[in-house]
C-alpha cells in the first residue's frame, strides 16, 4: 500500500493563551530558543494498520457522543447495533429509544438528537404517566444538566 512508513506524534495540552504584547518588546523579536530535544507535551502513541480490514461496527456500542451543550453524560449508554436493509440502527433497549442512519456515525448522531430532545421534554413535563416517569428516572441516571 504505502511505500513510506507513517510517522506519527501526538500531544495533549491546556488551551492556548493569547496575551497583549508587552510594550518594550514590540520593536524587537523575542529571544530565540533552541528546539527542545523532547516535546514536553508529547504523549505515547501507537498506530496499527489493518492487513485484513475487519468491520468497524461493534455489536454493542458504548455511547458517549451526546452533542448537547447544556447536557453531559454521567456514564456511557450501552446501545445494540443492528443492520437493516439500508440502515444502521442503534437501540437503547432499556427505554426503547433508537437512532438510525446510513453509517454508525450517522445513527449515533441521530440517537444523540433524539435523546437530548427526550431528556429536555421530560424535564419540562410535570404530569407524566408511570412509564414516562420510569424513562425520566433512567435518563437521569445517565444524563445530567451541565453546571453553568
Amino acid at each position: 500500500m504505502a511505500a513510506a512508513a507513517p510517522v506519527i506524534s501526538a500531544e495533549v495540552s491546556a488551551p492556548g493563551l493569547s496575551r497583549e504584547p508587552v510594550e518594550h518588546e514590540s520593536g524587537t523579536l523575542p529571544k530565540q530558543q533552541a528546539i527542545a530535544p523532547h516535546n514536553p507535551l508529547a504523549i505515547p502513541v501507537q498506530l496499527m494498520i489493518s492487513e485484513v480490514a475487519p468491520s468497524a461496527r461493534p455489536a454493542r456500542l458504548l455511547f458517549g457522543a451526546l452533542k448537547a451543550p447544556t447536557l453531559r453524560l454521567r456514564k456511557p449508554i450501552p446501545l445494540d447495533l443492528s443492520i437493516g436493509e439500508t440502515e444502521v440502527v442503534l437501540t437503547w433497549a432499556e427505554i426503547d429509544e433508537f437512532g438510525y442512519g446510513s453509517t454508525m456515525g450517522d445513527a449515533a448522531e441521530d440517537f444523540s438528537r433524539s435523546l437530548a430532545e427526550l431528556y429536555c421534554r421530560l424535564q419540562e413535563s410535570e404530569l407524566l404517566g408511570p412509564d414516562l416517569l420510569n424513562v425520566k428516572q433512567i435518563l437521569s441516571q445517565y444524563i445530567e444538566t451541565r453546571a453553568r
Partner: protein, 183 residues
Amino acid sequence: MNPTTLEEDARNCTVDKPRQGCQNSGSSPRSQLYTPVRGQRLMAEAPIPSVVAMLICEQIITEQATNKKSLIGVFETFGSLAFPGVVNRIAIYAKLVDAQGKYQFKFRFVSLKDETLIAEIGLEAEIKDSAHCAELALNVQNFPMPEPGKYEFQLYVGDIYLSRVTIEAIQLQGGVPWQQQHP
C-alpha cells in the same frame, strides 16, 4: 491488526497549569470519581469527555510557551492521481471538556463504503483539570489512503464512542487542477 510503534515518548504528558478556561467548560470535578488508592483516578471511573470540536488539517503547530495551536491547511477532501495513495501530512485536532484523569484515546480510521477498520491510533493521556478544556493534537505523516471514497476518523475513549470527523478521498484526472491548461 499489525501493531507498529512509530514514535514513543515514555513520559506521559500532563496538562500544564491551565492558563485560560473556556466558556463552555464543564462542572467542577466530583469527588466521588476519585479512587481512594493513592488518589489516582482510573479510566473506568473518569468522567466521559465531551468533544466540542474535531477538525482535520495538514499540520498542527503548538507554540511551546503559550500552548496556542495553529491549524494549518484545514481540509476535508484529499485528491490523488493514483490509489492506494499516501497522505503526506494529516493532523487531527480535538477539543475536549469534562475530561479529568488518565485516558486511553483511540482514533479509528474507518472506510464508510462498508464501515471497515483501516487503521487505529492509540493515545494515552492524562488530563489534570476538568474545569478547563483539553486539546488533543495528532500529527501523522505518510498516512495510507487505500481507495477513493468517504472515510471517518472516529474518536473513542476506551470503548466509548465520542465523536467523528469525515474526510473524502477523490481520484484526480490528468494532473493536478492548477497545472491544467485553460483555453
